[in-house]
Each structure stands twice: as structure tokens, then as C-alpha cells.
């Protein structure tokens, strides 16, 4: 190699690696655009964010911020209760939509709407339905009972429950669709054989449906939990984190700090969510690599 340094320009530069075929060179060239995007907009932001969150004083500040503790509890409620209810309903409805009926087929077409339609107009629509003075819900309560209805979104417990409801409304169709696909993949002759043996509805579910679907179901639940950690819209558009910042979840809290120009605090609050995220990711990876 030292010879080339002697100044002989006519010797062509050796190829980067002698084993690189033209097809492989093309392969690297075609993969490069995505790699660039990934490095610039995933790897760099994540590393930069972690670097911003390094100072221990951030965590002290978070520890003394009562909104943070409340948001962490709310997030936990959202994930543990909200997601499990959603997935159970999805599992139940996947059985309903797997029925062969024309009207059920049509209903399933409508059922997809919440997922196909953007969340902001529909969530704001729900928000106005529960407006204490002009919303349709309190108008109906008044016309039936003569009493004024409650100020729904002003009660943190009710408001958080409704945010979970909005989240379920929005993402239930997607998970139901996935579980329907899983259900339709079960061999039908198993059910026919069980029918002949006089198996009950519960026995069919317990011994045929559930064993074939449980991997898919648990994978979906874990994935939904991870994605729901990042669900900003359901809470922000319905309650804005209020009343008195009592319905924040970690997703909206991070953005709140960001809007208040406290970027390192925002990153620190996200780092504090890692104990939620990492176990989920770990289980997910274990399941997927099997």
C-alpha cells in the first residue's frame, strides 16, 4: 500500500472491499437514505435528550413537583386499568365481528370510523357534549330529571375516566381488527369437532380460542401499553391536563414542561418513565424473538 503514496497517480484506487459485488453496493446505496433518517431523527434526538436530562438537579425538581407524582399515578391507572379493559373488549368484540352476518359485516365497516378519522375533531366533539352549560348530555339530564347535570370535566376522577374512554373509543377498532385476524386464523374444524362433542360456549373459548390467541393477545396488550404511554391527544384535547393539572399523564406533562421552556425537566420526566417502558420493551423483545 505504501507504494501508492509515492505519487503514482495512474494506479486506480483499490475497491473498498474486494468482496463487495455490484448488487451489494446497490444494497448499501438503497439502504442509506433510511439509515440517514434514522440517525438524524431517532438516534441523535434520543442521545441528545438523554444528555440534556443528565443533571441530578432535574430529578430533585421533579420530586418536588406534585404535578409529576400525580401524572405518574394517572399514567399507571391509564395503562393498567384502561388498556386491560380495552383489550378485553377488543377480544370480546373480535368474537362478535367474526360472526357471519351481513349486518355485522356492515357494522364492522362503520366500526372502523373512529380509527380512520383524525382524533382532534372527534375528541373536541366529545368535549363539547359534556360541556356543563351547553353540552347535549346535561341538556338531556335536565329535560329528564329537571336537575342540572354535573360539571363533568371539572372532577379529576371523572375527567381521567373520560380521557381513558376517549382513548378506548379511538383505538378499540384497530386492536379489534388485529384480534379478528387472529381469530379467523384458527382452524374451523376444531370448533366443528367441539360442537359435535357438545362443548359449551365457555369450553370452546377456554380450550380452543384462548390457547391459539393468547400469544397475539398478550403481544397486543404490551404493544398497546407502550403506544399509550405516548398518547398525548386523549388527555390534552379533552381536559388539557386540568382541572388544576390533576389529569396530566407523562405524555402531556413532558410537552407541558417543553411549552414552559423547561426542556431538561421535560427530558428528565421522560427518563423517569423508563421504569414503565423498559420492562414492557424487554417482554416484547422476548416474545418477538421467540
Amino acid at each position: 500500500m505504501a507504494i501508492t503514496l509515492s505519487g503514482d497517480q495512474s494506479i486506480p484506487a483499490p475497491p473498498l472491499s474486494p468482496r463487495l459485488t455490484p448488487a451489494q453496493a446497490w444494497g448499501i446505496a438503497l439502504l442509506a437514505p433510511y439509515l440517514l433518517v434514522f440517525l438524524a431523527f431517532v438516534v441523535y434526538p434520543v442521545c441528545y435528550g438523554l444528555w440534556l436530562a443528565r443533571a441530578p438537579s432535574n430529578y430533585v425538581a421533579l420530586y418536588h413537583d406534585p404535578i409529576f407524582a400525580r401524572a405518574a399515578v394517572n399514567t399507571l391507572i391509564f395503562l393498567v386499568i384502561g388498556i386491560n379493559i380495552k383489550m378485553l373488549i377488543a377480544l370480546f368484540l373480535s368474537g362478535f365481528f367474526a360472526q357471519q352476518r351481513t349486518w355485522i359485516k356492515w357494522l364492522s365497516v362503520i366500526f372502523i370510523l373512529p380509527w380512520a378519522v383524525p382524533s382532534i375533531p372527534t375528541i373536541l366533539s366529545v368535549r363539547f357534549m359534556f360541556n356543563p352549560e351547553w353540552g347535549v348530555v346535561n341538556h338531556l339530564i335536565f329535560s329528564f330529571t329537571g336537575d342540572d347535570g354535573p360539571n363533568w370535566l371539572n372532577d379529576p376522577t371523572v375527567a381521567l375516566t373520560m380521557a381513558i374512554g376517549v382513548h378506548i373509543w379511538k383505538s378499540l377498532p384497530f386492536w379489534t381488527l388485529i384480534l379478528i385476524t387472529g381469530r379467523l386464523a384458527i382452524a374451523q374444524d376444531l370448533f366443528e369437532a367441539a360442537e359435535v362433542d357438545g362443548a359449551s360456549w365457555w369450553q370452546k373459548f377456554r380450550y380452543i380460542t384462548w390457547p391459539s390467541m393468547q400469544t397475539l393477545y398478550i403481544t397486543c396488550t404490551l404493544l398497546s401499553m407502550i403506544w399509550t404511554l405516548g398518547d398525548f391527544n386523549s388527555v390534552y384535547l379533552l381536559t388539557g391536563g386540568g382541572p388544576a393539572d390533576l389529569t396530566h399523564v407523562l405524555a402531556t406533562l413532558g410537552i407541558r414542561y417543553l411549552r414552559l421552556d423547561q426542556l431538561s425537566l421535560a427530558m428528565a420526566s421522560i427518563v423517569c418513565a423508563m421504569p414503565f417502558v423498559l420492562p414492557l420493551v424487554y417482554f416484547m423483545m422476548k416474545r418477538l424473538s421467540r
Binding site: F128, L237, M284
Partner: protein, 288 residues
């Protein structure tokens, strides 16, 4: 199962049907009420909308007229915001297709070394919850000098759409027989010719599904748009809708009308391409 001529009426069938209806009706109401409420506001004059009527006394298209003529303070940039949403959604669709198709071809057909690792790393993006990635992404876009520029939102959405796109396209292209490529090489085709003349035509259905997916994802996005864009003439429609809430006496009937107009294109696109979407996007889901 039914005996010929036994009975066209059986109590058991009626009971089953009734039980199904008992599930079906609540599901229908649950799904439709928020959407119907939005539609109701769009066709109601303000007084009717605010008095909790289930159907307006005087249905009207006047709200649409106000929106289309931009006759309200909150609506003065309606057309330019609609245009921004369109440009961004289409750009995200096109860029995602280009980047993801190239990557999937490279990983699945050219078997580039390390391709699987790249795909796994890419999918790892989805283990970062969206709102968490948004915080450092905002700052990063600032560092790149892209804040308030449409490119920031386009690139952010391409980042989010690509891993799934690559994964779906790779699954689909793995199903194409290797003999196709071998035959083309025998005939003296170059890699680019295989890509253009063999691969792309065969992948068309998946490409339609992925393109639609990316367009819808970008059109519907609120959080990133709200963080990355802020000038009234740069923002997309959802951000403009969010800005309605800044006022105490928001014109909710106009908000709902604009929201209805904004929600129509994605619903229409979804139903037009449903055939491709459901098959194409859930194909890999049940493999495990």
C-alpha cells in the same frame, strides 16, 4: 345443519339474533355518537347547537359557507392551512414510499449485509412512545434550523412511518420467488432494471397500502404538527382547530364544521383503499 323444510322460524335463531343485536346496537351507538354530534353541529345554527337539540329545527349549510368564504377570525387562513395539510401529507406519502421501498428491496432482495439488524433497529423506533420522542425531536429540529418549516414535520412523520413501511414491504417482497430475480439476471438485467421492471410492478398492491397509510398518518397528526409549526400561515388544519380553543367564546359550530371537512378526506381515502389496507397492513400481525 338445517333440515329441508323443517321450519323457517326457530326460537333458537331468534334468541341468537337478539343477543347479537344486544351487542351490535351499543357498539353502533358508541361508535357513531361523537361523529354524529360533530355532524349535527356542522348543520346547526349556533342557537340550535347550543341548546342540546338532537336534530336542529332549521338544518342549514350556512356554517360551511362561512368556512369556505373564510368569514371568521379563526378561519382567515383556512385554504392555506388546508393546502399545508395536503402538501405535507402527500410529501410524507411519497418520501416514505421512496425510502421504504428502497430499503425493503435492499434488505429482502439484495440481502445486504446487516439488513436484518437495520430492520430490527428501525422497528425499535416504535418502542419509544410518540410523545416522548417528540420532546427531543423538537429540540433537534431547532438545532437543524427546521422549526416552523414544513420540512420539519415532513421529516418527523417520515421517521415515524418508515419502520412499519419497511417491515410490511419486506414481508411482502419476501413472498416473491427468488427465481424471478435469477431469471432477470440471466437475461442480463442490471440491479436497477430488476428494481424498476420486476420488483415495483409486483409490489404495487403493498405500495398502495403503504402510501395510503403514510398519507393518513401525516394528515391526522396533531402533536408533532402542533410542536413543530406555529405561524398561522404555516400550520396544518389540526393545529388551526386546536387554536380555536384559545378563545373563551369559541365558535364551536364553526370548529365542528371545519373539523368535519378535515375528517372527510381521510375517511374517504380509507374506504376507497380499504381492500388494500386491511390485507396489506395486518398481513404480518398474526404470524407469531
Amino acid at each position: 345443519m338445517k333440515l329441508p323444510g323443517a321450519s323457517e322460524f326457530s326460537w333458537r335463531d331468534v334468541a341468537t339474533e337478539a343477543r347479537l343485536l344486544l351487542i351490535g346496537i351499543p357498539v353502533f351507538l358508541w361508535t357513531m355518537i361523537p361523529i354524529y354530534h360533530m355532524f349535527l353541529f356542522a348543520i346547526s345554527p349556533k342557537e340550535d347547537a347550543f341548546s342540546g337539540k338532537l336534530w336542529p329545527d332549521h338544518p342549514t349549510l350556512h356554517n360551511f359557507e362561512i368556512v369556505f368564504k373564510q368569514q371568521h377570525y379563526f378561519l382567515r387562513d383556512f385554504y392555506i392551512q388546508f393546502w399545508n395539510s395536503t402538501v405535507i401529507a402527500v410529501s410524507v406519502g411519497v418520501l416514505t414510499l421512496v425510502i421504504a421501498t428502497a430499503a425493503a428491496f435492499s434488505i429482502s432482495r439484495l440481502k445486504v449485509p446487516g439488513g436484518r439488524t437495520v430492520l430490527n433497529l428501525a422497528l425499535f423506533t416504535y418502542f419509544i412512545p410518540a410523545a416522548f420522542l417528540a420532546v427531543p425531536m423538537y429540540r433537534t429540529m431547532g438545532n437543524y434550523g427546521l422549526l416552523n418549516n414544513h420540512w420539519s414535520l415532513i421529516l418527523a412523520m417520515v421517521t415515524i412511518a418508515s419502520p412499519y413501511a419497511i417491515w410490511v414491504l419486506k414481508q411482502a417482497s419476501d413472498k416473491l420467488p427468488v427465481e424471478l430475480d435469477e431469471a432477470a439476471v440471466m437475461d442480463g438485467a442490471t440491479t436497477l432494471q430488476i428494481f424498476r421492471l420486476v420488483y415495483l410492478p409486483l409490489m404495487m398492491p403493498s405500495l398502495v397500502a403503504i402510501g395510503t397509510y403514510a398519507v393518513l398518518l401525516a394528515w391526522n397528526e396533531y402533536l408533532y404538527a402542533f410542536l413543530l409549526l406555529s405561524n398561522d400561515r404555516e400550520i396544518t388544519l389540526p393545529v388551526a382547530l386546536g387554536n380555536f380553543l384559545a378563545a373563551d367564546d369559541s365558535p364551536w359550530e364553526l370548529l365542528m364544521t371545519t373539523g368535519f371537512i378535515y375528517a372527510l378526506p381521510p375517511a374517504a381515502i380509507y374506504y376507497a383503499f380499504r381492500r388494500y389496507m386491511v390485507g396489506g397492513l395486518t398481513a404480518g400481525a398474526v404470524k407469531s
